[in-house]
């Protein structure tokens, strides 16, 4: 069922986010705290480094390997310091109908579009309703859909609704595009009579802005006697502060919300002790906005 991590702030070594904490993203491959599932179906990340060539273009890496065993990734994570990161491990049902390939690894990013997206959840009845979505996707993006996931179509819907897909959009414009895409999905579900609970936890990052969505369509609806998936609302947590690192034996941001210049948002906290983490509310979006030298994390209600 996937796990996602996104970071925006002062540059940090990727190893400190992906590997070092006791419940780091890669440790969640086989030991997630808030999900009774293994996440073995691939890894992907987009990482922005201001000191690199073409700093607005992220370093991208996607693999169908179980990333815990990926020595190349481990070596890169020990070298790269990023001011923004969007990383994802993929978890899928344990059967052979699922397509495991690089095209289905998150995060998704179309050519010429700075915004990347990763998804945690699944859309019930996606095969039935996907062609209803096509009219809402710009042709230049429709032809770039390469994989078979519902997630890539959600991404295509959102970037198609951006005022300037090729530019850096303000957080409010990103949120408006997300609302529009969720509305299109709501209508398509209604047309096809799809009422099963469908989780749509999404994270977007373009290196400058971060938007995260904790949302479920028809939460709590399952067929009688045949409980599919989880009856819990999929989790999402964030924390903010300065100077992410190992402080007093604990991986955390310090300095208080007053001076926060960095934000981490993740499907679940990166540490077993989540005292400094806060839950993103259900049916809500988290926007990270620049405010001078600081960054502020705002919660926005999502009613679709």
């Amino acid at each position: 069922m996937c796990r996602i991590l996104s970071y925006l702030g002062t540059p940090v070594l990727l190893d400190d986010l992906l590997y070092a904490p006791d419940s780091s993203l890669l440790n969640q491959t086989i030991g997630a705290q808030m999900l009774q599932m293994l996440n073995l179906a691939g890894f992907g990340m987009a990482a922005w480094d201001e000191a690199s060539h073409a700093p607005n273009v992220p370093f991208r890496y996607r693999t169908t390997q179980v990333a815990l065993f990926d020595r190349n990734l481990k070596a890169l994570a020990g070298k790269l310091r990023s001011s923004a990161l969007l990383a994802h491990i993929r978890g899928v049902p344990y059967n052979s109908t699922v397509q495991i390939n690089e095209q289905n690894c998150h995060p998704f990013r179309f050519d010429g579009v700075p915004l990347s997206m990763a998804h945690n959840g699944d859309l019930a009845g996606f095969r039935d309703m996907r062609f209803d979505l096509a009219p809402h996707i710009r042709p230049e993006f429709a032809k770039q859909i390469q994989g078979s996931t519902d997630s890539e179509w959600i991404y295509a819907l959102v970037v198609s609704a951006l005022p300037d897909p090729a530019g850096i959009n303000e957080p409010d414009a990103i949120l408006a595009a997300i609302r529009h895409a969720l509305g299109v999905l709501r209508e398509a579900r209604a047309r096809h009579g799809i009422t099963r609970s469908s989780s749509t936890n999404l994270m977007f990052c373009d290196g400058t802005n971060l938007a995260a969505v904790r949302f479920t369509f028809d939460f709590g609806h399952f067929d009688a006697g045949a409980l599919q998936g989880s009856s819990e609302y999929l989790s999402m947590w964030y924390t903010c502060g300065r100077d992410y690192g190992l402080h007093e034996g604990e991986w955390k941001l310090t300095g208080g919300a007053i001076d926060a210049d960095s934000v981490i948002v993740a499907s679940e906290p990166l540490t077993r002790d989540f005292a400094t983490w806060i839950e993103v509310p259900e049916y809500s979006a988290l926007l990270v906005r620049r405010d001078g030298d600081r960054r502020r994390a705002e919660i926005h209600a999502l009613e679709v």
Partner: protein
Amino acid sequence: MAQAPAQLAGFDREAWAALLGNASPFAVGAGEVLFRQGDHADALYLVEAGLLEIAARIPGDDNAVISAIRPGEVVGEFALLDDGPRSARVRAVEDTRGLVISGRRFRALLADGSDWAIRLGHALRRLVAARTRQTLERIVAEGHFDPHALRQLHAGPPPVPSRSEAGVLARGLARLKGIEDVVGAGVLLEARRGATVAAPGDSQDGLYLVLRGAVRAAVPRGAMAEQVFVFGPGCFVGLTGHSDGGPQPLLVTAAEEARMVHLPAGTLSALETEAPPWLPALHAAFGRQLVQDQRKANRHLGRSLSLARFNHAGELG
């Protein structure tokens, strides 16, 4: 401590003496930490003398003082109702001493049907509910909400009786394991999205148990609502008021089209007398959710405080 403190009302002399027989003394010096947030939790503390301070860490590694614990009050009660880690740090402001009750011993004697353990369970659920009510009252009064986080307040017509089969809907819900029979004791209702289940200040008639869909509990802010809880399948709605006897603290509406069982107060008190075999499991489920609700209300308050600090940063220089 010759008799039960007010926070643990409901003990007669004999039951209180039995509880004291299962407690040990504790002492902590001024400035010392009794337990830290995130620690493994397995004991309840009854303060006889001194002063403790409860503080929780919030994002950015800030601390927010939640409350003070004075003589005659208890702290650490989550440990006996839920197996999660400590939700806050407790530090002694003055030299403090009292009695400690081990969670392991409490659970063993509860499983044996020991009278003092059953009474303590009731008292702790009432106490946690009262603490949640205090937290909610603080959220209402302080009003540090993010204006963007408010949503349109819906107040549609109330739920109506449903013809679905409650027993079928209850099957397979992990949160109800062992207490599926409880749905047979109530009346199945269905609520359209936006239906009003309860309004703040309403006197409460028992509980609701969500079987499908979801219910939202929120603080009304004019024409808008500040969401605090979302209750999905297997969750009880109205536990705070049912446990502490107070009125409904929040506006409760259907966040999704919902089906839920209403367990009227009369039915619930009859269950206490009849004591069906699944009653202890029901009490345990109440205890777990009360703790989860209190944790969630505290997280909500922590998020609001961190937001307030950020927004006032300029004023503080």
